[in-house]
């Protein structure tokens, strides 16, 4: 990167470090932080949408729909989330390939599962075997996003379901007294009012979401954990201009600090938002704010 980096062996410690930290691979490492942020930016609204759908389904008066919603919420209670991540990645992949297989190759007569293999016709592969590298990377990234959205959608659904029930019953009765239909009550009364009740749960969820981003590593995305392991490992002079010992500990320390700073920042911001939202509300928080001012 810098002009003086042509001969690393002759550099002083500080200059060596500057050169070392700006190699091409380190740039990939820094981009990986961007990947994490992009993942968060896409997943958070997606999970919220999934959660909203799940919570509305759980409230539905149609029994199958409400059972589906409740099942979706309940299943994450008992099972480790990481098992979901591992499961959904393969399941989604195979589901897509199987669906495409049914459409593209209708006259395929062999079974899909042959012993230990999952076989679909060549043109049904997702993405196609001959597609460029970036398609594969983007595909695996979006599978990861979708998986995150499903899992965190269930958490969000639980929070929103609770928030919808926390809206005071009298409000709904008033709406009914005005002759609103179920649908109108839901959209005009419940949804606008539920956010105050949902915010503590949702902000907790955001923290949890931040802290689960290293699981991207398990989904096969080249994220910060991948690069920290890759870059930190012992390097001998034969393969690189910057030989060093086992530095993985320091790379993971850097990641630890990154996450601590990120959660701390979110905590401060979310506390501000909560303070704004509770201002003047008829809740415990609003009451204590009023007392503090008086």
């Amino acid at each position: 990167m810098f002009s003086f980096c042509t001969d690393p062996d002759s550099l002083s410690d500080l200059a060596w470090m500057a050169c070392y930290l700006t190699t091409g691979k380190h740039m990939n490492f820094y981009y990986a932080f961007g990947t994490v942020l992009v993942l968060l930016a896409i997943t958070a609204p997606a999970a919220l949408a999934f959660g909203f759908a799940g919570a509305s389904a759980a409230r539905s008066r149609l029994l199958p729909l409400s059972l589906f919603g409740k099942g979706y919420i309940a299943i994450v209670r008992g099972v480790p989330d990481i098992a979901f991540f591992l499961f959904f990645v393969i399941a989604l992949d195979q589901g897509l390939e199987y669906a495409k297989h049914l459409i593209v190759c209708p006259d395929w007569d062999q079974p899909i599962r042959q012993g230990n293999d999952f076989i679909v016709c060549q043109s049904a592969k997702v993405p196609l075997g001959n597609s460029p590298q970036w398609v594969h990377k983007t595909y695996s990234f979006f599978v990861a996003v979708f998986t995150f959205a499903i899992v965190f959608g269930a958490f969000a659904a639980n929070v929103l379901f609770g928030a919808m029930r926390a809206v005071p019953r009298t409000q709904l009765e008033t709406a009914e007294a005005y002759g609103m239909t179920q649908r109108q009550t839901f959209w005009r009364i419940i949804v606008p009012q539920m956010w105050v009740y949902a915010l503590p749960g949702l902000s907790n969820l955001w923290m949890v979401l931040i802290k689960s981003t290293p699981l991207l590593f398990l989904l096969g995305v080249e994220d910060i954990v991948y690069w920290a392991r890759e870059l930190g490992g012992t390097k001998t002079a034969r393969f690189t201009d910057y030989p060093h010992g086992d530095w993985r500990m320091w790379y993971f320390l850097a990641l630890l600090v990154f996450y601590l700073a990120f959660t701390r920042l979110s905590e401060v911001v979310l506390n501000r938002v909560m303070g704004r939202l509770t201002l003047g509300q008829a809740t415990m928080g609003g009451e204590s704010q009023r007392k503090a001012q008086a």
Binding site: V79, D81, F87, F118, N158, V208, G232, D246
Partner: protein, 268 residues
């Protein structure tokens, strides 16, 4: 091979007793159930020991955080912040590489680079931090009247803590603490996915589930088995903690007892 034979061979495979080689092809349902169940031994080992040890450290940390002495408060606050503010996954990685480099300093650290000790230490600290935050919250909401009553009886210091504050704190914290216990058990599945290697393929339940999923390229059998085991484990924890909860609340009229409500928004 009958199922009983499989259980004899693989029932304790995860702790190194029984057949050495894992099955390689033609997996039966029985094999999957047995091996994944055998891996569950590790999850229970990590969970139970970390939970019991963490309970005591958490009490100390909660008292430290509530203390007026800055030398006690600041370290407790930082401990809790560091372990709650960063992902457990990264903590495992960091601890593993830390122990690896400490190993060359002193042979005392040799066992810590393997999962049974190293990961246990991380889980112990982690659950201590999460529980300490719960206990701290409960400590803050111990009713004033209880403490005043204890004062009136002439209790002070240790006996006041032991007989009044501590039981009330536990009673208030217990529902959240139950959730913490459940999620600690879920968190134990991360151990063999981080730096810690599974020696001679002795892993936990998820390790074997992933083994089967990778070998058969079929996630639809091993993961539901794993899920079933964990749901059973969760139900067991809820039952056990419910008994304790009943005992903690036994002096209260039945309508004032605090029910355990499950809240699943807690991953690390």
């Amino acid at each position: 091979m009958s199922c009983v034979q499989t259980i004899m061979d693989y029932g304790l495979r995860s702790i190194g007793i029984g057949e050495r080689l894992l099955p390689r092809a033609d997996f039966t349902l029985c094999q999957q159930f047995t091996l994944i169940g055998s891996g569950l031994i590790w999850n229970i080992y990590f969970g139970v020991i970390a939970l019991i040890a963490g309970f005591f450290l958490a009490t100390v940390l909660a008292l430290g955080k509530g203390s007026r002495i800055i030398w006690l408060r600041k370290p407790s606050e930082w401990f809790i912040f560091i372990f709650r503010g960063s992902p457990l996954f990264i903590q495992f990685f960091f601890a593993y590489f830390l122990f690896l480099s400490l190993k060359s300093v002193h042979p005392f650290f040799n066992p810590f680079s393997s999962a049974w000790a190293g990961a246990l230490v991380v889980l112990f600290f982690n659950t201590a931090a999460y529980s300490a935050e719960i206990f701290y919250g409960a400590l803050q909401s111990v009713p004033r009247g209880d403490v005043e009553a204890a004062d009136a009886y002439g209790m002070s210091g240790w006996s006041r803590f032991r007989r009044v504050i501590w039981p009330t704190m536990l009673r208030l914290a217990w529902p959240s603490y139950t959730n913490e216990a459940i999620f600690l058990f879920h968190a134990t599945t991360l151990v063999f996915f981080s730096g810690f290697p599974a020696q001679q393929q002795r892993g936990d339940a998820l390790y074997y589930a992933r083994y089967f999923a990778d070998q058969t390229f079929n996630p639809f059998v091993p993961y539901p088995i794993l899920a079933a085991y964990f749901i059973l484990l969760t139900l067991g924890i809820i039952g056990l903690f419910g008994l304790v909860n009943r005992r903690l609340n036994r002096h209260l009229p039945s309508d004032q007892r605090r029910k355990i409500r499950l809240r699943p928004n807690l991953i690390r």
